[in-house]
Each structure stands twice: as structure tokens, then as C-alpha cells.
């Protein structure tokens, strides 16, 4: 019963059984034809012997299904590589402050906000607020960081204006509402704005939220992305390392 990691399949109670549970609704009236439609859909998804274990009339010509089936697809687990935030090893509160004193030589200026129409501040507060979250102080508490939390529903333009005014090193953007991709639009616009202002290289752009991950952040043109469970030291470790890296690139350019 050794697992073949090149051909990994879902598991219920027997290796390779492919057991998968599905639920969804279809815009078709409840009945045997609806059940068959659900089975066909599951079959197209690559499930063998799809069983509709539950079917319920939602009214208005809609039907809900709970389906189990046997997945035929496999995944090559050995080839998976996940991009991770390069924080050069997560440091703690003291180490980060020491790093800034010793390797940056001045205070870091960080501006955070929940942008657009988003008013979910709990996430950005968790990273920034003095009192912190889950046992970790927020950035406002760090003696070597000047942290400004602009709060909720901050327009991208205002955030950028604030960044210019305070000569910020980094912007921390929180996006929680993701319906109809509103966070993608909003984050993309911030990158475009910074580029238009010629500030993209001067600013470290970081985003976070329950549906954000690092890979996606990179794709959107950010320098890093943080998902659920992130804490201030994760973010700060990345920031200081990234800033040091950029500073050393600058000095190497200086002689030219």
C-alpha cells in the first residue's frame, strides 16, 4: 500500500479509490432528468460511478445535488513547487528591530489600508495595531517602524498621496471582499497608479487577505502576498529583507 506520489488520487478508505464528494445546484427542474444531468456533469468532471445521494427542489426551476463519485484524475505530487514569500527565515520582534537598526540604519515607513470600498479592517488591524493579534504585536508597536494605518475604504489615490507625503517604504493593502473579482481590479489599479507616478521601484507593495496568496500577488505585480493566518513578524521579516536587498542594489548602482 505504498503511495505512488507521482499518481496521487483522492482517498476514502482504500488506496486509489478516488472518493470525492461534490455539491452544486443546476438551473433545471427537480426530477429524474435533473438527477441524470447531475450525474452527467460529474462524469464530465472525471468521476466514475457518480451517485446522486441527495437531490432537493429549490423552487423556481432549480435543483440541488449532493454527489459522490470516484475520481479518475491523478496528480504528480513530486513535481509540485509552491512559490513562498522569501522572508529569509522569519525573524521575531526583537530580531526585526535589530535588523533594521543594524542593516537599514533608519526607521522603516509603512502605510497600511483597506482600500476601495472594502471596510474589513480586522485583517489589516491584526498586522498593524499596537495591541496585535494572536499573541504577536502589530507593526505600530515596533520601535524601528513608523506605521500608519489609514483604516477602511481608502481610495487608492489617497493611499498613494499619503505614501508620497510620508516618503513611505512600503504599502500594505488589505482586500477581503472578492465578489466579482473586485479585489483584483482594485489591486491592479494600485499597481498601475504607482507605476504612473513613477514610484513602483521606490515602494514595496504588499497585499493580504483571506483569498490572497503569494503566487497571485506576484502575478498582480505586487512584491508579496499574505493569506489567512499571517502575522506581523511574517510581513516585517519580508519587508526588511526586501528593503536591504533593494538598498544594496542601489549602492552597487551608485558608482556608475
Amino acid at each position: 500500500m505504498a503511495v505512488d506520489f507521482q499518481r496521487v488520487k483522492p482517498y476514502g478508505d482504500t488506496l486509489g479509490d478516488g472518493a470525492v464528494q461534490l455539491s452544486f445546484s443546476l438551473p433545471v427542474p427537480c426530477g429524474e432528468e435533473a438527477r441524470q444531468a447531475a450525474r452527467q456533469l460529474a462524469a464530465q468532471m472525471g468521476l466514475e460511478e457518480p451517485q446522486v445521494y441527495h437531490m432537493d427542489d429549490l423552487g423556481e426551476g432549480y435543483t440541488f445535488f449532493i454527489v459522490y463519485g470516484t475520481c479518475t484524475h491523478t496528480v504528480d505530487f513530486t513535481s509540485i513547487r509552491v512559490p513562498k514569500v522569501d522572508d529569509g527565515g522569519r525573524m521575531n520582534y526583537e530580531a526585526i528591530n535589530r535588523f533594521i537598526r543594524e542593516r537599514i540604519g533608519r526607521k522603516l515607513v509603512v502605510i497600511g489600508a483597506c482600500t476601495g470600498t472594502d471596510a474589513h479592517t480586522v485583517g489589516i488591524d491584526a498586522i498593524m495595531n499596537m495591541k496585535g493579534y494572536d499573541g504577536e504585536y502589530g507593526l505600530e508597536r515596533y520601535p524601528e517602524i513608523e506605521a500608519y494605518n489609514l483604516g477602511s475604504q481608502v481610495p487608492n489615490e489617497e493611499m498613494l498621496a499619503e505614501a508620497i507625503e510620508r516618503d513611505a517604504d512600503a504599502l500594505l493593502v488589505s482586500q477581503v471582499v472578492t465578489q466579482k473579482g473586485v479585489h483584483i481590479d482594485n489591486l491592479t489599479r494600485l499597481v498601475e497608479l504607482t507605476e504612473a507616478e513613477g514610484l513602483r521601484n521606490r515602494l514595496i507593495l504588499v497585499c493580504g487577505g483571506p483569498r490572497i496568496n503569494h503566487e497571485m500577488a506576484l502575478e498582480l505585480g505586487f512584491d508579496a502576498g499574505f493569506g489567512p493566518g499571517s502575522l506581523a513578524p511574517d510581513v516585517a521579516s519580508f519587508l526588511v529583507r526586501e528593503l536591504e536587498r533593494r538598498m544594496s542594489n542601489d549602492t552597487s548602482k551608485a558608482p556608475d
Partner: protein, 535 residues
């Protein structure tokens, strides 16, 4: 049987008295002011609707026009009724001409004051008659069709597209929902006008517009006939347009409105004067329209911890009660809010939830309490979430709540999908039915954990209320005593929309509404006594 917890009635009376003073003090202070939203509401009730060529709502056009000329403080009605009389046209036509630039309200000669008063009264009565008719229609439908039992099953729809909302709402009604709330698009609460027409492009919700109200009302009436149960419609009477939405809801026969005295201040950073003036007028309308309000105490627990901040919920309920009474809204329409938000990992957390729910029940015996589900501690684990929602439902049936805002297992991911609602309704129906009379069968051990917790929360709430009473609500808000957020009387959004009334300020709607709900405007000084509901 209701008195499952032995509480100190003296403490309850103290809390209520403190809240009554807090509210009365605020009202006395703000009585002399009005807001752009109130004025726009007056115009809507006088019959003004529609948008100009740029899409700006005519009530805004007219009010902005008066504001520009610094003449709004006399009350928008005085100018519009004057113009209507003088030109012998309807208020709607007045507004259209203002929009077209063909009429400047302040330049029209003033008609005789007495005839202006008479016309204002006539127009107000006409506007209010539509609302009264809606109220009668609601009562008639409920008599004819019947309605769900309490706790009402309350679900939200929030597709962003009113036509999808209608499908989802009707489907929900067929599944068993008693109340369908259309959630607003993010950000609407901070725009200083109400969008116009049917809309299909909201985020996390659908714009509240009068046409959307009408469409949804129509859909729910249809399905109500078919399922043989009156289906209530709910929206958000909150934000910078609070009283306007109240008026629109009253005109389209909404049944329930989210409406909180402090929510906008604390959670949307709306200026406190603006919110408090707007809430008073909006509640006057809601009260008259027979609309149940739902207050937003649950919001305290989205940022603060539900165990530590439990007393703030109770304190806010007391305050909301008193502001409602001052606005003539009766206890049977007070859907005071609270929420099941204690961390599910807490040992005996369920006991604390029970204590809180029972406490609210006993302190506000006539209010159809609105109970909010777990949200903050819902995770991507839909299976566990479904069980959290079941426990929430159990507390509700055990303690006799009025309105059950159903928890969704997908709370941590998206606004409800069509089957999420089905599963949530099924969950509540199962628990409510299977444990229907459990509340009558159990008593809490005297001196036990549940009782001790209830007393602790009550004591802390009373302490807080008395402190707020001492320093006044404005100062309390400045010091961050509520929800840990500090707000200044002159900060926040919408302050520019607050105006001192002229001594000849004219608002025929307010006067007529107060008369009709039995709030004699001249008696308002004596609220302290009346603040305490007779029991």
C-alpha cells in the same frame, strides 16, 4: 415560564433610566438641527422622484440647489411648497424645473404663510396616505395568507443583480424563509444619494433603489401567494441616506429595516450629529409604516471579543430602545440585535451564549429580538460551520428569539448561494421543530454559571450606561467608550450635510408624522418619564 433567569429588576430599571436620559439629552441638543438627508426625505414624501440628465436624483438636485444658496435651513419643504403653490404645479414639476435650470426656488415670491401651511399639510397627508395604505395592505395580506412562526427565518440575498436576487428570494421563500433581506453593495452607505432604477452591478450586495425595492416586493408577493405565507422584505436603512431609504421602503411596503442609532457613527465613521438626526427621522417613518427595525449590535462583536464586550451589546440595546421610543417606534417593532459570536473553542461558551440570549429576552420582553448568527468564527470548514449554526438555532428556540438571521455554512467564503440558503433553512427548521418546547421544559440552576454570567453582563452594562449618562453620549463617543473607536462631534463623513434650523424652519412631514404616531412635538421635553416603557 419566561423568567428562566432570576435577574435584579432594580438593575434593569437603572439601565433603562440611564439610557432614557442619554437619548433625551441628545435629542434636545439635536432638535435644532436638520440634515440634507432629512430634507431630501421630505421632498420624496412630497412626491419628488426621478433623476436629472446626469443621473442625479431630483431630491438631491433640489436640496443642493437650496444649499448652494444657503437657504436650506428654512426646510426644503417651505421652498418647494411655495413654488408649487405659486406656479400651480406639483412638487415633482418644481423639482424638474429646478433640474432643468428653469426655476430658482429662492427667487419665487413667497405665498401667504397660512396657505403654504395648508398645502404642505395636504401634500404631507397625501404622501403619508400611500404609506398607510401599504401598512393596511400588509396587514390584510398577513390576515389572508398567514405568516411564519417565530423565530422568523430571515435570509439574505446579495448577488449584486436585482434580477438574480428575485430568483434567489423567491426560491428562499419556497424553501421556508419568512424574511428576505437584500444586502446592499459595499460602499453604498457612504454615498450621499440613493441610486436610481433597477441595478445589476453591485459588489457583495445589490444597490438599494426604490425600483429594486419595488421589483423585489413584487416577486415576494407573487411567491407569497403561491406558498400561502406573507414573505417579509428587508433592506438597510443606514448610512448617509438613512431617512430617505426609510421613506422609499415605506412607499414600497418593505417590512423590516436595518436601522441603528449608533452604527453609522461607530462602524462607518459617519458624523455623529448627522447620524443621530437622521436616525430619529427615519425611525419616525419606520414606526408609522409598521416596519420592524433591526438594530446592529452584532457589529460590536465583529471587532471586539464576544465574551469581553457582551455588555456593550446590552448597553446599545438599551440606547436603541430609548431612541426608538423617542421617535415613536413601539416595542413590537424593535428588532433589537445581538449575536452568537463567542469563540466556538471556548469551554462552556454555549452557556454564555444562552445566558446572553435569555438576558435580552427577559429585559426586552415585547421586542422581536433579532438574533445574528456566528460569522467571525466561521471558517472554510463548512461542515463545522453548519454545526455552529445549529447551536445558534438551538439557543434561539430555547430562549424565544423573534427573528433568526440564518447562519450560512459558507459564511467565510461568499454571500449565500442558492442551496446554502436551503441548507440553512433546513437546519433551523429541524432544530426549531425538534426542540420546539424545550425552553418550557428547562430551568437554569439558581446560582449557577448561566445565571451568574447573565448578572455579570447586566451589571457591566448598567455601569457603562451610567457612565455615558454622566458624561453625555457625545463625550462618550469621543473617548472611544463604545466599540473602542473614537469619534469627534465634528469629524466623520457627512457633517457638511448638518444644518442649524432657522426659527421659521418648516417640515410638514415631521409634524404630521409625529401627530399620527402620537408624539406631540410640543411635549418632547417630557421624555424622561415616557422613556420607560410601561410594562
Amino acid at each position: 415560564m419566561r423568567e428562566k433567569l432570576r435577574l435584579d429588576q432594580g438593575q434593569i430599571d437603572r439601565g433603562r433610566k440611564a439610557a432614557a436620559r442619554i437619548a433625551a439629552d441628545v435629542n434636545r441638543e439635536l432638535e435644532k438641527k436638520t440634515t440634507v438627508a432629512v430634507e431630501r426625505t421630505v421632498l420624496r414624501l412630497l412626491g419628488i422622484d426621478g433623476v436629472d440628465t446626469e443621473g442625479v436624483p431630483l431630491p438631491n438636485v433640489v436640496v443642493d440647489h437650496l444649499l448652494e444658496q444657503g437657504r436650506l435651513s428654512a426646510g426644503a419643504a417651505s421652498w418647494v411648497v411655495n413654488a408649487a403653490l405659486h406656479e400651480n404645479i406639483t412638487p415633482q414639476q418644481v423639482a424638474e424645473r429646478v433640474a432643468a435650470g428653469s426655476l430658482s426656488l429662492t427667487e419665487i415670491p413667497q405665498v401667504e404663510w397660512a396657505s403654504l401651511l395648508r398645502e404642505g399639510e395636504r401634500l404631507a397627508a397625501q404622501g403619508l396616505e400611500r404609506i398607510a395604505a401599504n401598512r393596511r395592505e400588509r396587514e390584510e395580506q398577513i390576515r389572508r395568507l398567514g405568516e411564519g412562526r417565530k423565530p422568523y427565518l430571515y435570509v439574505i440575498v446579495a448577488t449584486g443583480d436585482i434580477y438574480e436576487d428575485i430568483i434567489q428570494g423567491k426560491s428562499a421563500a419556497r424553501q421556508g424563509a419568512d424574511i428576505v433581506a437584500v444586502i446592499r453593495s459595499t460602499g453604498q452607505s457612504l454615498i450621499d444619494y440613493v441610486p436610481y432604477g433597477a441595478t445589476r452591478e453591485g459588489f457583495g450586495g445589490t444597490y438599494a433603489t426604490q425600483e429594486n425595492f419595488r421589483l423585489m416586493r413584487q416577486g415576494l408577493d407573487e411567491v407569497g401567494e403561491e406558498v400561502g405565507r406573507y414573505i417579509r422584505l428587508c433592506n438597510y436603512c443606514s448610512g448617509l441616506c438613512m431617512p430617505e431609504i426609510a421613506a422609499m421602503g415605506a412607499m414600497e411596503r418593505l417590512d423590516v429595516m436595518l436601522n441603528d442609532a449608533l452604527y453609522g457613527i461607530l462602524f462607518r465613521d459617519i458624523n455623529m450629529q448627522r447620524t443621530l438626526i437622521d436616525q430619529a427621522f427615519s425611525r419616525l417613518i419606520n414606526g408609522y409604516a409598521g416596519i420592524m427595525i433591526n438594530t446592529g449590535e452584532d457589529n460590536y462583536l465583529t471587532t471586539a471579543d464576544a465574551v469581553e464586550a457582551a455588555h456593550t451589546v446590552l448597553a446599545s440595546q438599551f440606547i436603541n430602545e430609548q431612541f426608538a421610543l423617542l421617535a415613536g417606534l413601539p416595542p413590537e417593532q424593535m428588532g433589537l440585535g445581538h449575536a452568537f459570536e463567542i469563540n466556538p473553542e471556548l469551554e462552556d461558551g454555549f452557556l454564555l451564549e444562552l445566558a446572553q440570549a435569555q438576558l435580552s429576552r427577559q429585559i426586552f420582553p415585547e421586542a422581536p429580538l433579532k438574533y445574528m448568527p456566528p460569522t467571525k468564527h466561521m471558517t472554510g470548514n463548512i461542515f463545522k460551520g453548519h454545526v455552529q449554526d445549529a447551536m445558534f438555532n438551538l439557543v434561539s428556540i430555547l430562549t424565544g428569539q423573534g427573528v433568526q438571521l440564518l447562519g450560512m455554512m459558507t459564511e467565510a467564503m461568499h454571500t449565500p448561494h442558492i442551496h446554502d440558503r436551503k441548507l440553512a433553512i433546513e437546519n433551523a427548521q429541524y432544530i426549531f421543530n425538534n426542540a420546539r418546547h424545550l425552553g418550557e421544559e428547562i430551568q437554569f440552576v439558581s446560582g449557577g454559571r448561566v445565571e451568574a454570567r447573565a448578572r455579570e453582563v447586566l451589571d457591566r452594562a448598567v455601569g457603562m450606561l451610567e457612565e455615558v449618562e454622566r458624561i453625555g453620549l457625545f463625550t462618550a463617543l469621543e473617548r472611544g467608550m463604545l466599540a473602542d473607536v473614537k469619534r469627534s462631534p465634528t469629524g466623520g463623513k457627512g457633517l457638511s450635510g448638518v444644518l442649524e434650523k432657522d426659527e421659521n424652519y418648516y417640515n410638514p412631514l415631521e409634524a404630521e408624522l409625529k401627530r399620527r404616531v402620537g408624539l406631540d412635538p410640543r411635549e418632547e421635553g417630557s421624555v424622561h418619564g415616557r422613556g420607560l416603557p410601561t410594562r
